[in-house]
């Protein structure tokens, strides 16, 4: 097991910068998730750590040793690929043993390691089958087994759950968590799915256009997003955004724009006092809005017209039009009968208002 240190890593292809000045310190036994939309550079970063892509500049160190010029086989890592990448002409047993055989490990030791990995992943009955005879979930377990069996310093996961259906994905997510408790190896997991990222990662690295947007624990990212992109990317349903202008109104601050006008006591938003006259993007999570009038000084009211309801069984998601903006509200009582066009009054706590400025 080892820590992984990326220092000022760049990756440039002909005229395109895929990864831009990435510095990241991954602690020993930590599970870090690189998350972001397609083309953000997360997979390229993982492939550079694996040695499948060359680093244009910067250094990558695993366990204190710079690995920039080492072949993938010499980095002591293991990787799970999106499409499992099992060797189709080998049995499951041989797939698991392949890496150890290449390292000339004794046969008895290989057999023991394969049996141990198979037991952990409950794939013992599958050992003599070929990959094509396995389901997607079973193939994924074998791919995980191929990593475990080698006992490497670092596990790399390249969107390993994205080929599975929703139900199986949720199950595998749970199994990965359980596996992690038994095999606490340093892990770097790449995904574009923020639910996967939130549920699996000790820390998340949100990337966009090759740049790191924010690094933090799932809760830090959810509660204190560094910018509008992170705020919109983390959380489901996505955060509501409205463009407002900050103005002073006596001992209060007024937020106005797009047909919306909110007033909040200046003491409840200390950071905003210095931003008077500036335009801001106001973000409110759908989960933080509740129906009804504001019940105190520390809440602001929103009045709108209902446009859509989505029944989820345990809750309703509704959308209301406030001025020119459409706001989604989550956690509405599923038994509440609401008709499109009816007036809705809602409230949100001032501590749940997020402000993003261009500067």
């Amino acid at each position: 097991m080892a820590d992984v240190l990326l220092s000022n890593v760049h990756k440039r292809y002909a005229g395109v910068t895929a990864v831009n000045d990435l510095t990241l310190d991954i602690k020993d036994r930590e599970f870090v998730v690189l998350v972001g939309p397609s083309g953000c550079g997360k997979s390229t970063t993982l492939r550079m750590i694996a040695g499948l892509e060359e680093v244009s500049s910067g250094t990558i160190a695993i366990g204190g040793r710079v690995v920039n010029h080492l072949q993938p086989k010499d980095r002591d890592i293991a990787m799970v690929f999106q499409n499992y990448a099992l060797y189709p002409h080998m049995s499951v047993r041989d797939n698991l043993a392949f890496g150890l055989r290449n390292r000339r490990v004794a046969a008895a030791e290989i057999a023991a390691a394969v049996a141990h990995a198979a037991r952990i992943l409950s794939i013992e009955p599958l050992l003599d089958r070929r990959p094509r005879q396995l389901s997607g979930g079973q193939q994924q377990r074998v791919a995980l087994g191929r990593c475990i069996v080698r006992n490497p310093k670092v596990f790399l996961f390249d969107e390993p759950l994205s080929n599975l259906d929703a139900q199986l994905r949720a199950q595998m997510r749970l199994e990965l968590k359980q596996l992690r408790q038994r095999v606490p190896t340093t892990s770097i997991f790449v995904t574009h799915d923020q639910v996967e990222a939130m549920t699996l990662g000790d820390r998340l690295v949100v990337m966009k256009d090759g740049l790191v947007q924010q690094v933090g624990t799932p809760l830090e990212l959810y509660r204190h997003p560094a910018n509008r992109f992170v705020a919109g990317f983390i959380g489901s349903p996505a955060m509501n955004f409205m463009n407002v202008k900050v103005a002073a109104d006596g001992d209060r601050l007024a937020l106005a724009g797009d047909g919306l006008r909110l007033q909040i006591p200046a003491r409840l938003a200390p950071g905003l006092g210095a931003r008077i006259g500036e335009s801001a993007c106001l973000g409110i999570r759908p989960q933080h809005i509740r129906l009804g009038a504001p019940s105190g000084d520390n809440q602001v009211g929103l009045q709108g017209v209902l446009t859509v309801t989505e029944q989820l069984g345990d809750e309703q998601l509704i959308a209301i039009r406030v001025g020119a903006s459409e706001l989604r509200i989550a956690g509405v009582d599923p038994d509440l009968k609401l008709a499109a066009g009816c007036k809705i009054e809602a409230a949100v706590g001032t501590d749940n208002l997020h402000f993003f400025f261009d500067s």
Partner: protein
């Protein structure tokens, strides 16, 4: 008064009007007719090979059959030598071509950069040259290299042609194989070459088999290179067969017997590798 509108008669065609059994019978009949169309020359060839020299012009009327033609051609040293040469050349051309086309196809499929681009351009350029246009220059080259009328004199041109034609097919096979497997192998302890040899090549075996069969059949049936690039020292079956046409006339019976003998290995290869041949032809 009611207005009467006439619906245009709807017809799904002749086949739809037939009962399912009728449709099946008609389809079988059509398939049989097409098969017969292709099989007829072969059947005629076999029939001719079994007729005496005097009976070849009334094959359809004669009743006299003999195996003397086979005995006659197999007693000729040149035919036996040609049979052996054709087999050796076809097999060697297949093995050597596949060795190069597998690596060439893999490079075209997996690597980007000036070397693969240059190789791609060379192959493309040579593919644009008509097959016939290669023959005369090759004649002079083999003469110059002093390999005319030798195994190498025929093998090298065959391999060159195969590389140009089959590298594309091989590239297609490798394109269909997920490169993640090779990356996994590289992480599992293989070099790039090891990943190619131990993971990509075994995964490409169906494609390689199809290509090997096509390559072998192509060389076995090839006539033009064999005619121009060989003489008495290295007789090739397709050329020897044609030599039954001479100034004294045409020995159709002997030619047919030789052709039937030539058919047998090709038939065996095709029958055993049918599945792969079809796959190869579909690319």
């Amino acid at each position: 008064m009611t207005a009467l509108t006439m619906e245009p008669a709807q017809s799904d065609g002749f086949f739809a009007a037939l009962a399912p059994q009728g449709r099946r019978a008609l389809f079988a009949l059509a398939a049989l007719a097409i098969c017969l169309l292709f099989a007829f020359p072969v059947l005629w060839l076999i029939l001719t090979s079994l007729r005496p020299g005097t009976g070849v012009y009334y094959v359809h009327r004669g009743t006299e059959f003999t195996l003397d033609n086979f005995q006659d051609v197999l007693s000729q040293e040149i035919v036996l030598k040609a049979l052996l040469n054709s087999f050796v050349i076809s097999t060697l051309a297949t093995v050597l071509s596949l060795g190069v086309t597998a690596t060439s196809g893999y490079m075209l499929s997996r690597f980007k950069g000036p070397i693969p681009n240059a190789w791609f351009s060379v192959i493309y350029l040579f593919r644009c040259v008509p097959y016939v246009a290669w023959v005369l220059p090759l004649y002079f080259v083999t003469r110059e290299l002093d390999i005319f009328d030798t195994y190498w004199g025929l093998l090298l041109p065959h391999i060159a042609v195969h590389i140009c034609f089959f590298s594309w097919i091989m590239k297609g096979f490798f394109d269909g194989i997920d490169p993640s497997m090779e990356y996994a192998a590289m992480i599992d302890g293989c070099s790039r070459w090891g990943a190619f040899w131990r993971v990509a090549m075994p995964a490409a075996i169906p494609g390689l088999t199809a290509l090997a069969i096509l390559c072998w059949l192509y060389t076995w049936n090839e006539f033009l290179f064999a005619l121009i690039l060989t003489a008495h020292e290295t007789p090739i079956l397709t050329v020897v067969m044609a030599q039954f046409v001479h100034e004294l006339g045409m020995e159709w019976n002997l030619m047919s017997a030789t052709a039937v003998i030539a058919l047998v290995p090709a038939l065996i290869v095709t029958l055993f590798g049918q599945k792969y041949v079809i796959r190869g032809l579909r690319i």
